[in-house]
Symmetry: C2
Subunit: 397 residues, 2 copies
């Protein structure tokens, strides 16, 4: 490469006006994937439907080889294998996780990176050791200001070769709101390779970049971490040289299960005239969600959806909440939306919140639905069979 | 919609020269996903890494509600629930499955559809009832020519509203080479929703379109099936009005685990100078694969890889085969490729085999790799830790 690294690992850029998705963005979209929106029907996202973003390659790690080290500004450095980690009290939390770049591909201008639309989310039950217990065991020195987490995934990003690393302030790392976990189980089983097998960090309420996968090292430092993923990436900036604000907790967002059935290529939706139950989920990094409103006229008017409270059990406080709202579909073309407001009064915007990285963009979802036509395209017998097993929202004949 | 259906569900088209990936193609790429190529390291693809293509929505089906009907030209129509299906002898087969459209997005001109690069493949162990046993139970009438399989997924495609349907000739449906399964388990557990929960067809050796998911009806017919997925889609055609040839079995293909480590955005690969073990998998719809060759000079010269035989046990006859080949990486930029030849002498082409649907395109894979630079970008200690858990092919210090 001899100086040519910049050519193959260039700085971030914005797409030109009207520029289609590039081959590089497609290569990321073919590897990483979102939640098919009909899977919002499941309280816990089934394996393979939870969104996945892998910066480099999924590393190959055998359980037997795992040694999580806790060192730096601690009194007693630790080196823990899986058995040692399992000897600590285990906690299971249901957590909704969203990529900080969710919605990026709909921004104008479009930041060129993983091209998410609205689907980079999922909910799982994570089991592991509270990080605060590991840090208490090691004994954090008074001068420690951050915990730096290092994963086993290795690559190059904008010219910087690195292992994936992120940090948390000591008060977050040693706190219990949220309860940060070093997780060794997902939905009751070992972590799948793409979700960090065998160990990952889980930071409830924070965007996905904080949940370091393939975790192998925790270093307490007396100075703030200045690595790539902390100070170059994952900042809210308007200009490249703007130091920017750190990306941390998830903004509130509601998503709707697209009602009816789709066209394969355009993904346009079709519903029969009649009553439709609109359903979906809503979440916030500062839970709970206090209100979900629905619009069926492209945001001109809104009405309240019925919103389920967070499951009473505190283990679900960081998980999405169910909502539903009735709609009477009449012939014509409609634009359906939902928007969430969290307990802190933060509400989803009707116009995009733009930044160079395309982070934390919780612009409301828009679903275009066509209702009714003169002649059913298929015989109604066939339609009924389709409807009987299609997602909620398909009107029953 | 009143006649406007064509506007939202238009005929298939080819991308204009230089046209980027469209929002519609991106919407499909965000829902469906391929196999991250480093996952070729696993004999059986872990949950969530096997490729998935869903034409419409993933239907919601509760196990209790399942009734698989077998009717039409049979002596005794059947209606079977899961318990009844489990009462038949169970067979487990390890099967490599590939989307017929794999490689489509690299074609010039590009057919506009699900934009696969090379990664639409995966291998799983499927357990179920041999279809021939179900058909023997029902008693196929002598005048039956095809079995038509209907799934519960419902949508519109190029203006045609439909439940997903495909057919097989009676001799294939009642044959045992391949052994066609009505599968109720994947890798030892219930089918995940996106893989056809609770029932799907598995047709070893055939492209994915034949493996009907969410299977609920099998109809024996005295005339060939002329439905959309049989006569409009999944045909090898050069012109829109060309009747075309039916897409059936997988063409031979070899894929390589990209060695070294990637740049996040460009996915360009980097390796250190020295010995690299190139590894991958190869398969064919007419197994076994007889030969895999490797090129490290963009196809100018080729040398034989070491190819594992199909696992002796016949249950693996339809699964991919492991291969490996040594390479000495020297500073510079290299293009790595592998190509498979099957027992029938079919070999992957060096130039694209184009058709309007972008089907059965098994053009050889090209991996661009950069080797060596003056100064390591990261300290070697960090690199060593990265390499120790990175995919095969990263040279060990």
């Amino acid at each position: 490469m001899d100086g040519s690294l910049g050519d193959v690992s260039p700085p971030g850029r914005l797409a030109e006006p009207g520029e289609g998705i590039s081959p590089e963005e497609l290569a990321l979209a073919a590897r990483n994937h979102g939640l098919p929106l009909e899977a919002l029907r499941y309280d816990i996202t089934p394996p393979g439907l939870h969104y996945v973003l892998v910066h480099y390659d999924i590393p190959e790690i055998r359980d037997g080889s795992v040694q999580l080290t806790v060192h730096g500004r601690v009194r007693t450095p630790l080196a823990l294998d899986l058995a040692a980690l399992r000897s600590f009290p285990a906690v299971t939390l249901r957590v909704t996780m969203e990529c900080a770049g969710n919605g990026r591909a709909r921004l104008v201008p479009r930041p060129v990176s993983q091209p998410w639309l609205v689907e980079a989310v999922g909910t799982a039950e994570w089991t592991g050791v509270p990080l605060r217990l590991l840090l208490a065991e090691a004994g954090v020195e008074p001068d420690a200001v951050e915990a730096v987490f290092c994963g086993a995934d290795h690559g190059i990003e904008r010219g910087v070769e690195q292992d994936y690393r992120r940090s948390l302030p000591v008060d977050v790392a040693t706190g219990d709101t949220p309860e940060v976990l070093v997780a060794y189980a997902m939905n009751g089983g070992p972590l799948p390779p793409q979700h960090g097998h065998p160990l990952r960090l889980v930071v409830p309420g924070w965007y996905g970049m904080a949940h370091v996968k393939w975790l192998r090292e925790i270093r307490l430092t007396e100075t703030p971490f200045t690595g790539f993923q902390q100070t170059t990436a994952y900042r809210y900036r308007q200009e490249p040289d703007d130091p920017g604000e750190a990306v941390t907790r998830m903004a509130p967002r509601a998503l709707m299960i697209p009602p009816g059935f789709p066209d394969f290529m355009s993904r346009t939706r079709f519903v029969r005239p009649g009553r439709v139950l609109l359903r979906g989920r809503a979440w916030s990094g500062e839970p709970p969600v206090a209100r979900v409103e629905v619009s069926t006229d492209d945001g001109r008017s809104w009405y309240d959806a019925e919103l389920a409270p967070p499951d009473g059990d505190g283990r679900h406080a960081w998980a999405w909440q169910r909502w539903q709202a009735p709609w009477k579909a009449v012939p014509g073309t409609h634009v359906l939306s939902a928007r969430a407001t969290d307990a802190g009064g933060r509400v989803q915007p009707l116009t995009q919140l733009w930044n160079r990285g395309g982070f934390g963009n919780n612009l409301i979802q828009r679903i275009v639905v066509h209702c009714g036509w003169g002649e059913p395209i298929a015989e109604w017998g066939e339609l009924r069979r389709g409807a009987s097993s299609s997602p909620a929202g398909t009107p029953r004949p």
